[in-house]
């Protein structure tokens, strides 16, 4: 991944030197040309083409915004309801993510979507303890987080 980005930068610089014009627009054109060439050469690299991972990051961002809006509407419903029939609770969310930044990202995404809040992480970084404002079904909540955020983060770091 890092190697491919570096190669792409070198190709863009090479293009600038070939064109003998050292402006940012030439650099961008060279970068795009490098992208096209590297897409053609993608089977020769050890790792997959890096634009897929860039797309995964963009997808994660869009997913976060979608979840943010939906969850805010849900919390609004809870607040405006005349009858308070919520079932708050704390559940353990087992996670398959390994590295520190993945777990931080997942915890922050869960916390930033209203209605759920990460309160603690177990010492071996395997279980996140999540407080939710309304959990009629724990397994549903776990599956929801696993299928949306955790999968998207896995896509980025795979």
């Amino acid at each position: 991944m890092a190697f491919q980005i570096l190669l792409n930068f070198f190709l863009a610089f090479l293009w600038m030197f070939l064109q003998v014009s050292f402006s940012s627009s030439t650099f961008i054109v060279g970068y795009l040309l490098g992208l096209i060439l590297m897409y053609g050469m993608r089977r020769f690299f050890k790792h997959e083409f890096y634009m897929r991972r860039v797309w995964a990051v963009i997808y994660l961002t869009l997913l976060f915004f979608k979840e943010l809006i939906l969850a805010n509407v849900d919390v609004l419903k809870v607040i405006l309801k005349p009858k308070l029939d919520i079932q708050p609770g704390i559940f353990a969310l087992p996670t398959e993510l390994k590295s520190d930044w993945e777990i931080t990202l997942l915890a922050n995404l869960i916390t930033l979507t209203p209605g759920t809040l990460v309160i603690d992480i177990s010492d071996d970084n395997k279980v996140l303890y999540v407080h939710a404002i309304d959990v009629p079904d724990v397994q549903d909540a776990i599956d929801g987080i696993k299928n949306s955020f955790e999968k998207a983060i896995m896509e980025v770091s795979r």
């Binding site: 777990i103 931080t104 922050n108 990460v118 603690d120 992480i121 177990s122 010492d123």
Partner: protein, 140 residues
């Protein structure tokens, strides 16, 4: 009771760079905009204090093996040197010189010896703040 600080530590590592860059920006903005050596120095110490909160004193002093007391001396030397430098040109103490120069990367830049004085202030503020905090933190 040992808690798991993984989120705090990971976030601090990222936020540290943002704060340091902002501190440097404040330091250089000091001549024409709000900012300067004092605020920049405090911001820089603030970034190091954030690391101290996320990790512990031993880890941070391994990461930055700086004796902050020496930093105070270096900063005072900068300030005093800028003040005394005026004496070489037969002008009163603390007279500053400035001018516009064409630097290779920055283009037309106005340089001012007050910048060096500000560097002294910056270093002294970092040194004093960190010395105070470390002394309080280490005393049992």
């Amino acid at each position: 009771m040992k808690t798991n600080d993984v989120i705090l530590q990971t976030a601090s590592k990222v936020v540290f760079f943002i704060i340091i860059l902002f501190a440097i920006h404040l330091f250089f903005a000091g001549h024409y905009h709000p900012g300067g050596g004092f605020v920049g120095g405090l911001m820089t110490s603030g970034a190091i204090v954030l690391l101290l909160l996320a990790y512990d004193i031993k880890t941070v002093s391994q990461g930055f093996p700086i004796d902050y007391k020496i930093l105070i001396g270096v900063g005072l030397l900068f300030a005093a040197g800028t003040a005394a430098g005026a004496l070489l040109f037969n002008v009163p103490l603390l007279t500053h010189a400035f001018g516009d120069f064409n630097l290779p990367l920055f283009g037309k830049t106005s340089l001012h010896t007050a910048m060096l004085f500000d560097t002294g202030v910056y270093l002294v503020v970092i040194g004093v703040t960190m010395t105070i905090i470390q002394t309080i933190g280490e005393s049992e």
